[in-house]
Amino acid sequence: MDLYPFFDWLDTSLLADISKAYGGVFAVVQMFHLLGMSILGGMVLVGDLRLLNVVMKDTPSEVVIENTHKWFGIGLATMVVSGIFMSSAVSMKLYYNEMFWAKMTALTVGVAFFYFVRRPLLSNSHDAIKPSVLKLMAVTSIAIWFTVAASGRWIGFS
């Protein structure tokens, strides 16, 4: 599926006009992007490090995971909305950037993993899940979101 028409449209959209013309608006939106990233990254680390028995050992992992789910969604939504705005400023550059597509692929895999694999499984009692599976999921989750963050930063240097 070629997404060129979407990026071409985004490049000439009202969003692009605003993001290119008003540096202050871009900076504020970028701040929200970083805030969303911090929330999402924080929730991922707290939840996954709890599954690995590294942090919050006194609190049941079900409680920790349940409390991170809502804020994960808020962080993700903030990141996606602000990210679309930010990408409108350089949409054609991003379309031809290899690292941008690496980030988008990792993001898609991360969201699919969270909502279709991790969350359904962890909604059960964790006692019914093999500890090795819990740890494997935690390591995979951290690896995916590390890739999203690192490839996102790499965009600026490629």
């Binding site: 992992s61 991790r118 890739t147």
Partner: protein, 53 residues
């Protein structure tokens, strides 16, 4: 958490199986992806600064 899997509902075992397959595929792909990126960076550094010999 325990290792007693005999009493697990079949749906739970199925979900665990899916999770393991997904995780193995993703981790393998990420290992390949990052090894390619690191290899590329090493090649660029060698081009810029030589191989150190």
């Amino acid at each position: 958490m325990n290792d007693n899997v005999e009493q697990e509902p079949s749906s739970n075992k199925y979900r665990q199986g899916i999770a393991v397959v997904f995780c193995v595929i993703v981790l393998t792909t990420l290992a390949w992806f990052w090894s390619e990126q690191i290899q590329e960076v090493i090649e660029m550094l060698e081009l810029a600064y030589g191989d150190g010999s």
